[in-house]
Symmetry: C2
Amino acid sequence: MTETLTQIKKDFTEGLSQISRFWGFPKGMGAIFAVLYLSPTALSLDEIVERTGLTKGAVSTEVRTLARMGLVHRSTKLGDRKDYYTAETDFYAAIRSILQERQNSEFDRAVRSVKETLTALEANWVEDEEWNFVYERVKALQEFFDAIDSLAKAVIRLESLGLSNVTKILSVLK
Amino acid sequence: MTETLTQIKKDFTEGLSQISRFWGFPKGMGAIFAVLYLSPTALSLDEIVERTGLTKGAVSTEVRTLARMGLVHRSTKLGDRKDYYTAETDFYAAIRSILQERQNSEFDRAVRSVKETLTALEANWVEDEEWNFVYERVKALQEFFDAIDSLAKAVIRLESLGLSNVTKILSVLK
DNA sequence: TTGTATGTTTAGTAAATACTAAACGAAATA
DNA sequence: TATTTCGTTTAGTATTTACTAAACATACAA
């Protein structure tokens, strides 16, 4: 039984939608990326609307956040008022861009609040068993977050080596 | 101005709730982990209820998923029918456990669907420009997912070295 | 100027999710 | 057996979030 290409594309789009949802993004975002990713040519907003079944409004806002994350690129053609969109194919670049974007995100604000807890504990120090306990715990968590952060940055910096090469290197370390 | 310890704890709990929410978990889960993490002693379900302000039902289900992820541990005391909970403090162990749990998750099902797209394309091969284009793209994405997966596994395997040491090693690689 | 083609914003709806309240079950104790 | 003490399940509610439909803004064209 022969599946048609459009059917295969549809399945793929469905898959990416799921993945998007899993990471806490709207599934529409996954779908938009998928149709761009599978298109040999840049697509206009209306073409995306047509292929995803979403409305203009939804595509307009979601494509913008995708662009901010560096996962799609907006371009124009001379003598054509439409915007055209293409998918980023260098995923490492995309990851780097997402991590940068992340700096100003809700997540980092929250992580900073852990740091603030720590300084609050230091500032109002009380020689007390529980106080000490809490301090140690908060500090450990803070260090963990820092470690993850530096690890991510280190991996990103090595992007030029290729992710799989980095993996190979790590594999022999032990 | 001196902040009281309970106030600091509250702020910390608030912070972890945000982080939890950011990663797509209920904010209650973050709160539960926080109160356990800051408690020198194991807490019963009702004590968690009291400190988080959630209901027994919510705590019951959420503490269970935390346990499944390896972020908290359930224990009992002899001659006491209550369950007691403590927070995992070895975050590397927790990450490993979460990644294992992930194997059966919705995420992996979705990632597998990319692989399936690939085999569908191979199975119904048509010598056609677009077909070829789509195939290359899907393949590239699949390889990227694989790379991320092996990298994660490699890092996890090195957990014994300590995360910050791994980071240091990566830093000199370039 | 008016009309047309585009993208954006907004106000409201639908759908998903976290959470509550309360019934239930099970196990120990009286 | 009845009662108490715990955890779980369930049915419903509230909240959040994604999305739609339509008004709006802008720029160009006639």
